[in-house]
Symmetry: C2
């Protein structure tokens, strides 16, 4: 960001501009004003990098990571690789059990996409071991963990710096149905209440900015107070946190540190656009990283579909970065199939949005698919599918010898109209 | 509709008003002006009926029906019953093989929801048997089939009356990527080209209105020219057909016949609202029955998710009635699991829309779910799921003894904050 402010076009900017099909100069200006962030791929080749924000393709993140009940580094690597193979642009490591440093480093060295983390998880969990509890977590240790992640090459970190002591006091007076549903947010809130002190991610924000510059990571300002159900949406707490985050974004920009903003959680469909527009206004165009939005509380085990709906509406209003919601959301730890459903749903939403954001250049594959359909070219249709294996299985489920699919069989519109419209289908003499 | 025009509140209106929680008088006014249609449940008890349109809950239809490659009446009944059990409000019989009269009557007598049909399918397929081809289909026979469906108690029929001889002439001059993708539309277009005559569903519209009055069925004016891919969306052909349909809606209303309008097919996200608003303007508020919208051509075998995205955006703009798109769309004949995925996705979109359309009354279950989550009441959460069996399976996939789910385990936010926020969770001493 500093280089962009000086007007210096770095190799990463050129790499992203090429990938996105835009000019390096225009991209640099957006980076300089903070409307685009560039995430590094630390162990990639040359200057691989990923751009997120204004005018760029919508990006998708997938969370992986161990839990107390299942520590299996190989499984997490498999989940991450599956997600990337389906088009996930970044991976976040949300591990909460096992060798946290080791898992993070395995992911960093195994993937060719930017890796994100939530350092407060490790700080809290290590504190249980070191001091017996989360609430006795040492302030300096939190900063040490952030530095360790930075040193390792983490590209972006969720930091819940916007949840302050004064905001959480309101939680007691204005109870929500689901209180706080951010795990990091709950660790920090418990710490604030227990110690009667300010959130270290807020009070030590200047030092965090120094670390971000030194190790070149992007801040992802976490929405610890995102609503956990529709009834809590767009309340005073959520919005007060957003305004705090807006001020932090400005401080980050002054320091030459990149920042994006997370939100908005569970929310009725008709509140989403307002929340995205508010984020863009309050945070002066900072890239918006979607958690959800989930437009009903009743979606589990199909919250990947609920999130695809919410993401599409948020993306139309200007959101830039989708986080995969798996089909295990609200129910348990996601396994491989949950990741697959989640990434597919998010990628479909992202692609539908790119068609609006980028226009014809994003529609090339859609046009190829449409042409393959019109000429009943099943091999090409299956090849172009986001999930060729499953597409083939569904296509073959009811065998047909008509050349069409089993739904219409001899009554396929492409066959019926070929004679009259001069297309190249073989007619089924049976019908016409 | 005639009774509503006279100001007579019929029992069906009272039934629907009770189900929707609105006043019979207000509902009657909306029926009289054509903004709401009432569909009968012919073999239900008493005056069961279903309302679709302005101010009412969004409704969902599921298509079932045999195909040439698989004729199994029991399977179609099973599909219909599964769909209804998941909340489908209506069923359409799209059978194209086997004993068409028998299958339709089985569905009519087995279901307690309004049944819809597409009579042109039966007219065309019978014509192949009777005269050797679709294009030799007899005009009177088409009307006979409509009458037969009416007599049987069909509540609504898709009639492609808006695709006229003058419109299809443009198809030759302005080729689309995917031409016509409506099966009924392709039968009629082939017939028009072959015979050089006007579409009988247009030229005989007055007689069709007489049949509709006599047998009390609702017209569902089919969009034979809906785009079959994004590249064809919102073209002249689609819009010219819509304006023709708008004039037919007016003629239907003058005759005291109920009508809804189908649309808009494949379409980029940012064109959907315009198409819905155009339909409402051109058809003077007639209920809009969604086919799709599909916001990318690349979705198969996940077009149920693509349609959920499109439906939500269309519903926000005023659409009233969703048609389930199954996970077999574009690939083949849908089996039970495809129906399940499709209905679940459509119901989630419809419910998210109802929360906006109806407000708090539609959020009751969401609030119960949110409260169940906050007290970690898994039995209630699974009971409230749209698919309890699958919800339970996902919840149990990774066993945990923490009382929370396996995702967070001991680091469950509800447990961590219970001490400070005075909620009723048992603390895990390990953490705090």
């Amino acid at each position: 960001m500093e280089a962009a402010n000086r007007g210096a076009i770095q190799d990463e900017i050129r790499f992203v501009a090429r990938a996105e099909g835009c000019s390096p100069e225009a991209l640099m200006r957006r980076v300089a004003k903070g409307a685009v962030v560039i995430l590094k791929v630390p162990f990639g080749e040359g200057s691989e990098a990923l751009g997120i924000g204004e005018g760029l393709r919508i990006k998708v993140n997938t969370n992986v990571g161990t839990c107390s009940d299942l520590v299996d580094t190989d499984l997490e690597l498999q989940k991450a690789k599956l997600a990337v193979s389906l088009g996930s642009d970044t991976i976040m490591d949300l591990s909460t059990a096992g060798d946290l440093d080791g898992i993070r480093r395995s992911l960093l060295h195994s993937l060719r996409v930017p890796l994100g983390t939530v350092p407060i998880y490790q700080a809290a969990i290590d504190s249980i071991e070191r001091r017996g509890s989360i609430v006795d977590m040492d302030e300096d240790y939190i900063l040490d963990v952030i530095e360790r992640h930075g040193k390792d090459g983490v590209a972006f970190m969720t930091l819940h710096s916007g949840i302050t002591r004064s905001i959480v006091e309101h939680l007691k007076g204005q109870p929500r149905v689901t209180g706080i549903v951010s795990r990091g947010g709950s660790f920090l809130t418990a710490w604030i209440f227990h110690n009667g002190k300010e959130n270290p991610l807020y009070s030590q924000f200047e030092y965090i900015l120094e670390l971000a510059k030194k190790y070149d990571f992007c801040l992802s300002l976490g929405d610890a107070l995102r609503p956990g159900c529709l009834a809590d949406a767009s309340d005073h707490l959520q919005t007060e946190e957003l305004y705090t985050i807006g001020r932090l974004v400005e401080r980050a920009r002054k320091a030459g540190v990149q920042a994006m903003v997370e939100g908005p959680g569970h929310m009725p469909l008709n509140q989403i656009a307002a929340n995205v527009i508010l984020e863009k206004a309050v945070c002066k165009g900072a890239p918006y990283y979607l958690l959800g939005p989930l437009v009903t509380d009743l979606g589990a085990p199909y919250d990947h579909i609920v999130a695809a709906i919410g993401s599409a509406v948020a993306g139309m209003a200007g959101a830039d970065f989708l986080c995969v919601v798996t089909s295990a959301e609200h129910l348990g730890f996601p396994m491989l199939e949950d990741i697959r459903h989640g990434v597919v749903a998010a990628k479909l939403a992202a692609h539908a949005l790119d068609i609006v954001r980028i226009g014809e250049n994003a529609m090339e594959l859609d046009l190829r698919m449409a042409k393959a359909r019109a000429r009943l070219d099943w091999d090409e249709q299956i090849r172009l599918s986001i999930d060729p294996e499953r597409a083939k299985k569904v296509h073959m489920a009811v065998p047909t010898k008509t050349g069409a699919c089993s739904m219409c069989g001899p009554y396929c519109t492409y066959k019926i109209l070929a004679r009259y419209l001069g297309t190249d289908q073989v007619m089924t003499e049976k019908c016409l």
